[in-house]
Symmetry: D2
Subunit: 296 residues, 4 copies
């Protein structure tokens, strides 16, 4: 049994809905100040989730609010809010719910994680725009294009790695808000990561930190584990070491060989990745240090 993978119902009119994410050192009066600010602006708080990390002394809040004429007033609101933000040393953002985040999905030869995202997107369950798919292979072109999504084939070899990355960056920088690695089997360079800090989501096919690296199902079979899993995390320079967004698991038994584990794993991977991407695009995730706060 797992938490829900899906975005909350889209009510008819979300055009005035905004999502505010704030993290800052804890001190008295933050909620009062922020909620008073919003109230005086005429905003109505629709949902708010707050968490204080006592060990670390950090305060986190996610607020959804409705504000009439959000489109025209958002810049002013942000400008007015900066004084508060500065006083409390906040990291913060205010996004419109109606402005879907644009995603680039990177993929290699396995299609299951990509297909789940395309399927959920088509069904209206993934609250994002899939702007493009980029692959180091050409196999999935017709599949992807049948969804009306542009497909870019950027081959990668040991020799052309730098050049390939240049092409990828050209395609995505300023064009997408986040990059999703849907079983993309190439290492992302530190330079690429710098362009999308905490905005590259990878699905790793094990229950991290168990079985780091390239052959987790073989390792799992070898160790005789009774449960396997998958982990969605933000990509950092440390391989499979970035902040974990979501994990899930499934029971296996001695009857399952490595191929069985791979097949079972595919189902966990696609669910976990879809859930993590949903939470990211709905502004539900705050990264602090090497961990995430997920308001879901």
């Amino acid at each position: 049994m797992t938490p829900t993978v899906l975005p909350k119902t889209q009510r008819d009119d979300m055009k005035n809905r905004a999502r505010m994410l704030v993290s800052c050192p804890d001190q008295p009066g933050i909620v009062a100040t922020v909620s008073r600010f919003l109230y005086e602006y005429g905003a109505n708080i629709v949902q708010s989730d707050q968490y204080t990390n006592h060990d670390g002394g950090m305060f986190y809040i996610r607020i959804e609010f409705d504000l009439e004429d959000l489109d025209t007033r958002r810049e002013q609101l942000k400008s007015d809010f900066s004084a508060i933000a500065e006083k409390f040393q906040m990291k913060w953002s205010v996004n419109r719910a109606s402005r879907k985040k644009r995603l680039a999905i990177f993929v290699s030869k396995e299609d299951h994680a990509l297909l789940e995202l395309l399927w959920q997107w088509q069904a209206g369950d993934l609250d994002a725009d899939i702007a493009m798919v980029i692959s180091n292979h050409n196999e999935m072109r017709s599949l992807v294009e049948s969804f009306g999504v542009p497909y870019h084939h950027v081959p990668v070899t040991a020799d052309t790695k730098a050049e390939a990355e240049r092409k990828q960056l050209e395609l995505v920088v300023d064009q997408v808000d986040a990059v999703v690695l849907a079983r993309y089997m190439q290492i992302i360079s530190p330079k690429f990561i710098e362009y999308f800090p905490n905005r590259i989501i990878n699905i790793h096919h094990s229950f991290l930190p168990a079985f780091v690296g390239g052959k987790p199902y073989a390792q799992a079979h070898n160790r005789g584990v009774k449960i396997i899993g998958a982990t969605a995390h933000y990509v950092t320079e440390e391989l499979d070491g970035g902040p974990i967004i979501e994990q899930d698991v499934q029971r296996v038994s001695h009857r399952d060989n490595v191929d069985d584990l791979k097949r079972i794993g595919r189902h966990i991977e696609r669910i976990v990745l879809a859930r993590a991407v949903s939470w990211h695009v709905e502004d539900r995730v705050i990264v602090h240090g090497n961990k995430t706060v997920v308001f879901n």
Copy 2:
């Protein structure tokens, strides 16, 4: 995989910690008003969870805050808050975290649900005082008394039902905050319920609303279900029909006969009841109509 059954860590000094629960018709400015009120009182909001029911137009919030000298200032705070509460037509409460709720546990002949509560209580995992155990049998006296908990034997027969209830009420009214039916096999009368509205928690041994009534495991076996469950709910006049607080399930198979289902079910029952009681005593549950909002 299930949510955690346990109370959040008790920090060293909870004596100034308060928990506020509010429900009222939704309108702009509630969060701002409440948080400003608390801020001006010098309170620090430690955690807050809020939910607006769009279909029903209701607003719910749970706030944990720290307030210096809470003990001496709480009455004044409540009195000052009533003006706000009235304005917004709030149902509300402010409880001290340090003032543990007192529980009476009713039990018949099966001990598993009772034992789990006693065990969690002894381990410090259940944030309540178990004030007494009341049973229509005498079998568990020595067990209960070995935990240092008073045991009252109140036999119930068809003829003595009214008299038995009179005795039970004498024992519990003004003595306990809530009543837990830990597999108590007698029907609670409407009159008794009136004394403890939404404060009597029952564990029903099925995944309600499937299998209402007295023999759910036999019914489940008969229907050939692949999953069985248990349900903790507040007791209302409608048998097994009150607001559901928590449910959980476990997989079964054709190999399990009725006795197996009962045995498996005992484990679900004790976990689900313990979880529901924990959430109740930590002021995490708001009842509205025949449903619960659970901030966990």
Copy 3:
């Protein structure tokens, strides 16, 4: 956490693999007789699962075995086995693993359950042939045909129900081994069921027997349940009352409205149906009375 949805690994050469299913009244010597029979035939037992229902006095076994030249020798083996079968009053079957079962999938307007089956089939995870899709609407034609699967539009109205059924039967009788109702919103007539006893699999969008009928998510929301589910079952004359093959559930909360439940439910439905269909086509399910024995 759930059991695996997927067929066991297809080893390279399955052409000599057979699956025997047997149910009969229990008595000593059944395993000895059957296994000796197979041994003397030169068969090698690869996997066997057995279950005796003590309350009901029934014996069930599923045996996978390899037999050289299975294709040419299967008829003789079956003919020789009938003497044993008669003696023990067995209901039995012997199927070749290499002979995939042919399925007709019935669908109305919701595509999620169908898509999961098509996707698993294309990925090689569903060990069956999808022979055709039949719908009372025309919306999914291009989707289905893009998978290379024939699509038959058979409209159904109150007036044309009998005629529509005649057309459906013409399409499926002697053409498919089983019928899958992947959110097909029409009632199947007793006459149709007679053609496919225990070979029509339906997905019901609730955790049966809770919420029988057409609007289970609205009912679930109304009752305030904390867990929702889906049920795959064989279709019998009693609405939503046939033998349950598989069920699964997912946690929900007060935050989820009816639309959220539907969306979450779609994910449970497609997983549960795919699992049940897999088990059926791999000869893992025996029906006895109104229950199933599932060897998975």
Copy 4:
């Protein structure tokens, strides 16, 4: 959702019930030979589970059978079976279901895993005899003795480790069938392990192989995992490296600090250990290499 922790129903008369476990290199005719042998002895097979590991070429079977006058005829049966066993190079055992396995439980200062075993044992859910509890501390004496179980205090210090082990061995060798480490915080020496090969069950407080060693919850918190787990395994010379019997997990969040993880973990640990011990005492586990085959 997890598999059941509990033994199958004890039917009234188990005195003639035997459990046979066999593992050997795979070859044709094993099932036929074994089942014919049992049939000719007049035994009735009540349940059988079989598994062939194709990669490793190994055959495993567990058979429960009823044999009249089992008590007096068991030695003869075993002697007659040895010829078959030799021919097929079997490792094998035949145990009476009525002869409960005797357990020694080792414990240090945490009582939750011990209590669950005592509680299940008292409720008749653990099909074993708890022969004694051995602890390096004296704290739990009165608790254990209140269950009528002998308690041995064997202090262990760096200096007295060898002497302590000598005492422990004196208490358990030839007195118990298996040793359960219910959060026993001392390393077991290779010499001790030699006395109980694959008969010492430990509960490790992490989802192995993640977080080997002494502080798994701190490590888990540090890594920001979203799910924690526990692992029951047979003890071998490699720390936390022995064959895994069972694992289970529970969802956690950013809200849970290290103490919360410990508290949640306690519940997983006690369930997982109880399940593994049940399976061991019911002869459901075969160890091969560093893995287990569990027929449950």
